[in-house]
């Protein structure tokens, strides 16, 4: 029942939030709901068996057994970190809401609905159930973009809707085909059964391609990313944090969960090209980011490159790279949420996010020293500087992929260098430099800094001790990782004295 609670609690909370008489009460309800979700996730992680690679806490209810569509849930090392990420980011987003602002109640309701839907997608072990949740969260999300965005919000929201709808249709088609063409009397959508069946190679190729394009739009992967810059930039920073921090993970999760393991032969055949695609995507995202003049757009482009690391890891499919890929999803979520939060804060206070306008925000008296310091931290975490969570994830991906695909891995490493280039451009222009003597920006209160501080603490703590993040997914990754990464035996050292 606990997994169902993770899905339905936020949805119930959304209803309660909508019904609360006062604005403050609505926010308190939303926070209480999400605190319960986070607490539940913590409890689940306490009970979670680290040595077990398969699904745990399984729940099964017959729904439409004739169609093979059943309400079956399960949690494994791939979904647990993402459920935790979802809960944390949603909690911070609601915490940061100003309860008295107009329509903030609607925002929180929609956030809670999406939170539940996303958890459903992460926890579903029935492919059709996954598709249903995957499609359902689209509706509140469309509203989130269309209502709270900036000038071109309708354009952005519609573009997002069309792209995501195409993604949804492709995935739906692929999943339907997967279920119906399994050869049995009844369609099969149960994930565990799907993994055991063997499809003919030509069929695998077609379905894999459909899934890759479908999830590739969501993640997004180059060249299916064109909805991303517009959507991220035009939506409010709250929505951008949610989109980039959590929603994009549905795409990469789909690739790791469905595209990679369900079509092993076609995947093996295609993976050299996928690795190359990932390498190109990483460099493409980085180069495109360097040319941006708008800091929010720059951060948005940074996301494109970083999602491609996950494709690289999936293409090489070693246990090591898959642990890295799961960690990369969490790390990217934390870092991107932090960056979008800070950029949003800066835009809100200074009224600009142009590189040519902002300057000298590190100024201790009239600038934003804490915010700037956190921006430096976020940028450097994104560039993969050790000591922060991004490095641990990326390094595992590099090490896990190098033996299989050396060239794309080297491209990816070069990509982290280019990431450093555009973040240095961003930091040099916004944080460094001289703040104009006549400029007096409004202060950022301590309360407003809390969400960014919390994210920063996660980024640093998980960077200093990556085992806290990696241990959840190790067994699962090993059960997925086709080719185990085994370095040759270490040459015997001279005796070591242990004290």
């Amino acid at each position: 029942m606990v997994l169902s609670a993770l899905i339905w609690l936020p949805i119930l909370g959304a209803v309660l939030t909508a019904l609360m008489p006062s604005a403050k009460g609505a926010k308190a309800t939303a926070i209480a709901t999400l605190s319960a979700v986070v607490g539940l996730t913590l409890w689940v992680s306490r009970q979670f068996l680290l040595t077990e690679g398969g699904f745990q806490f399984r729940e099964a209810l017959d729904w439409l057994p004739n169609l093979g569509v059943n309400y079956t849930l399960g949690l494994d090392g791939m979904s647990l970190p993402l459920v935790g990420l979802n809960g944390l980011i949603c909690w911070l987003l609601v915490f940061a809401q100003n309860a008295s602002a107009g329509r903030s109640r609607l925002l929180m309701v929609l956030l809670l609905l999406t939170c539940g839907g996303v958890n459903g997608a992460f926890l579903a072990t029935n492919a059709m159930l996954f598709v249903i949740f995957y499609e359902l969260e689209l509706i509140p999300l469309y509203l989130l973009i269309a209502v709270w965005g900036s000038a071109k919000k309708e354009y952005a929201a519609t573009k997002f809707l069309i792209f995501t709808a195409v993604s949804g249709i492709l995935i739906l088609a692929a999943v339907l085909a997967l279920g119906w063409l399994s050869g049995g009397e009844q369609p099969v959508f149960d994930y565990v059964q799907l993994r055991q069946q063997a499809l003919p190679l030509p069929l695998q190729r077609i379905l894999l391609l459909a899934l890759l394009i479908g999830f590739g739009i969501k993640a997004p992967l180059v060249p299916l990313h064109t909805w991303l810059p517009d959507t991220y930039v035009e939506s409010s920073s709250t929505v951008a944090m949610f989109l980039g921090g959590v929603l994009a993970k549905l795409g990469s999760y789909g690739i790791l969960r469905f595209a990679m393991p369900l079509f092993p032969e076609a995947w093996a055949e295609l993976s050299p090209w996928l690795a190359l695609w990932a390498g190109v995507g990483i460099l493409y995202g980085a180069f495109a980011a360097i040319a941006q003049k708008d800091i929010k757009r720059m951060v948005a482009y940074s996301s494109i490159g970083h999602m491609s690391y996950i494709l690289l890891a999936a293409a090489s499919g070693t246990a090591l790279s898959l642990v890295g890929a799961i960690a990369q999803m969490v790390s990217h979520g934390l870092v991107l949420a932090l960056l979008f939060y800070l950029v949003g804060l800066i835009e809100q206070k200074t009224g600009s996010r142009e590189l040519d306008v902002l300057n000298g925000l590190l100024n201790p008296i009239r600038g934003y020293p804490t915010t700037s310091a956190l921006l430096i931290l976020g940028g450097m975490a994104s560039a993969g500087i050790p000591g922060m969570v991004g490095f641990a994830a990326e390094f595992l991906i590099f090490q896990g992929s190098f033996s299989a695909y050396p060239l794309p891995t080297l491209m990816a490493i070069a990509g982290t260098g280019l990431t450093a280039v555009y973040f240095v451009i961003l930091l040099n222009r916004t944080c460094f430099g001289k703040l104009d003597n006549n400029l007096y920006y409004p202060k950022i209160s301590g309360l407003e800094s809390i969400p960014s501080l919390v994210l920063a603490v996660f980024i640093v703590v998980l960077g200093l001790q990556p085992a806290l993040l990696l241990r959840w997914s190790e067994s699962t990754a090993q059960s997925y990782g086709s080719a185990a990464f085994l370095p040759p035996p270490v040459i015997a050292l001279h005796p070591i004295s242990h004290d």
């Binding site: 980011a289 040319a291 070693t318 246990a319 050790p386 490095f391 001790q465 370095p487």
Partner: protein
């Protein structure tokens, strides 16, 4: 159980890290109440603790065989990230050097940065560097060495950027970060590529692996070249040398640390990697070529500079080039010794230069002069530093150069001559520096120039004492056993090269009071050196241009081509819908005709 001081040696990097963390308390609102100074005092105290701990441990570890520990960081999917800790006379000695120099630099900074507001950031970063370097010398793993070097690259960005509201500082910080990061990332490629080959990152195991001969020579060469890039970036060697010069925009006390020990982190890693480089002749020759080119080129560039800090930064590049040569020719003892003597001497020269800059305002040596009698202490300390830096017997570097020359003379005579030439050029350059600052008549900037506050003078004097005692230490440590070697040909050659450089420089610059070239037609050549071989322009018109143009091209393609395709479909849909809506005539026959046509088309498609 060894000894309490050794068992707890891992605390040494932690002390300064705690100091750095405590500085975070001094946010602007608290600084307004207490002033910025307490943050500095906290860090000085922590560094003092580190230094005393290191000094005590050095006494204990002396003469013992190295102790190895292993600490597991984490283990994932059959890959263990284990930190091998190595405690030996060498590593503890390095810790004493690092913490000692940082202690002096921090005390010096109390005087130098008297009026500054950003103490908390500055001292925190100095401590951060100290901590990183102490961790680097203790850890015996290539992976963790990479991690530390990379983190220190971030530290360099922040430390150079301490005075972030000046334009040159901002570009300097950027270039330092990106140049070092380029080197680091190539090093990372090597680190990643090495594991599947060797199965380990432990330096000791790597040396066994490299010498076992099981490695594929081509792979080894590629990996070796990649690994070389890290030290090349850190030690400011060609072609990644530009950053050190620009990093001189940071506050001077941080330059004391950077020029003496931070650049040497690259040399340290290079020395640890020696067995690996040794196994590949290609890598070895590349290392020698880079080192030799930098040593010669940078010492020539140094002579053409008029900025004190630039003169010193290029001199450091040149000396690190000599360290590269020494390592690549398997003279690692000489290399380590050169790192030591160079660190002490250059730190002293930088401090003396800072003592001039702090109250003469300018660091342009053509505007200085006539300070010999006004600033006797500074003049004395700088003279001692210079003597320690170039091979003036009996001070430290003379022994190192003697050793190097005698080792290289039979076999690689060209390199032996290179060492002598670089020494002579540096001696000339240092004589030029000394006499342009202290000789001649006072100029406008030097008319009123007292010795600085005791907080700066005392560290200088202490360090001068240390530099003067280096020969004694070498004797004590039995690194030098026979005074007579200075009388050998190699010793005499070093002595001659030093005194030739110093003497000619003195003769020339005591008279010539300007920065003009010797003869007018040499001006282009002088400019060639003064502008650092036009490396800045070279970069601007090559790599920077390419990245800039390419990124704009990608951005253009992204906006108009890739996004354009999506928008085209949108527009096409709208347009076709708009045009088709005019076909609704209400004539049933026409609709039936359309349907039949469609069915026929489908039928044809299926049939084919």
């Amino acid at each position: 159980m060894l000894h309490a001081l050794l068992d707890t040696l891992w605390l040494v990097p932690i002390y300064s890290l705690v100091g750095a963390a405590l500085s975070l308390v001094w946010v602007p609102s608290i600084t307004r109440r207490t002033g910025p100074r307490p943050a500095g005092y906290v860090n000085i105290l922590m560094t003092l603790v580190s230094f005393l701990h290191g000094l005590g441990a050095l006494g204990v570890v002396w003469g013992r065989s190295p102790v190895l520990w292993e600490v597991e960081w984490f283990r994932v999917a059959d890959l263990a990230f284990t930190i091998p800790v190595e405690i030996s006379t060498l590593t503890v000695g390095a810790i004493v050097l690092i913490t000692g120099l940082n202690l002096l630099a921090q005390v010096y900074a109390v005087g130098y940065m008297e009026m500054d507001w950003g103490w908390a950031r500055f001292y925190a970063l100095l401590s951060f560097f100290e901590s990183g370097m102490c961790a680097l010398v203790l850890c015996g793993s290539l992976f963790f060495s990479y991690v530390i070097l990379e983190v220190l690259t971030l530290g360099t960005y922040l430390l150079v950027g301490v005075w972030y509201n000046q334009a040159l500082v901002v570009t300097g910080a950027r270039d330092a970060f990106l140049t070092k990061r380029a080197g680091d990332l190539i090093l990372l490629m090597g680190v990643v590529a090495l594991l599947p080959l060797a199965g380990t990152w432990d330096f000791n195991a790597l040396s066994l692996w490299a010498s076992s001969g099981t490695a594929d020579p081509t792979a080894l060469a590629w990996v070796g070249l990649a690994l070389l890039a890290g030290p090349v970036g850190k030690c400011a060697q060609f072609p990644l040398h530009l950053w050190l010069d620009e990093a001189m925009e940071s506050p001077l006390p941080s330059s004391v640390l950077r020029l003496s020990v931070v650049v040497a982190t690259g040399a340290w890693v290079l020395i640890r990697l020696l067995p690996l480089l040794d196994a590949s002749p290609v890598v070895q020759s590349v290392a020698i070529a880079i080192g030799a080119a930098t040593a010669l080129g940078a010492s020539l560039i140094a002579i053409a500079q008029i900025d004190v800090k630039r003169i010193l930064s290029y001199t450091v590049s040149a000396y690190m080039g000599l360290v590269f040569v020494a390592v690549a020719t398997r003279n690692q003892e000489a290399a380590l010794l050169l790192v030591l003597t160079h660190a002490l001497a250059i730190a002293l020269v930088v401090m003396a230069a800072g003592s001039i800059i702090s109250n003469c305002i300018t660091q342009d040596i053509t505007q200085l002069g006539g300070l010999l009698l006004r600033r006797p202490i500074t003049a004395f300390t700088m003279a001692v530093g210079i003597a320690g830096l170039v091979g003036v017997p009996p001070l430290g570097t003379a022994w190192v150069f003697q050793e190097l020359v005698s080792q290289l003379w039979y076999g690689q005579r060209g390199l032996a001559i290179l060492v002598l030439v670089v020494n002579a050029l540096t001696a000339w350059s240092m004589a030029r520096l000394f006499w342009l600052v202290f000789g001649g008549a006072p100029k406008q900037m030097t008319l009123r120039s007292p010795e600085p506050i005791w907080l700066m003078v005392v560290p200088m004097m202490v360090l001068a004492g240390v530099v003067l005692h280096v020969p004694h230490l070498l004797w004590q440590w039995q690194l030098v056993q026979d005074w007579a070697v200075l009388g050998q040909h190699s010793g005499i050659a070093v002595m001659v090269s030093s005194f030739l450089g110093l003497g000619l420089g003195t003769l020339w610059f005591r008279r010539s009071r300007t920065g003009e070239p010797f003869v007018p037609w040499l001006l282009p050549l002088q400019n060639f050196f003064a502008y650092d071989f036009y490396t800045v322009k070279l970069y601007r018109y090559s790599i920077v241009w390419i990245v800039d143009r390419f990124s704009r091209l990608v951005d253009w393609g992204d906006r108009f081509v890739i996004d354009g395709i999506g928008n085209f479909f949108g527009v096409a849909t709208l347009f076709s819908g708009e045009s088709i809506k005019y076909t609704t005539f209400g004539q049933l026959q026409f609709y039936v005709l359309t349907i039949i046509g469609g069915i026929l088309l489908l039928f044809l498609l299926v049939a084919s």
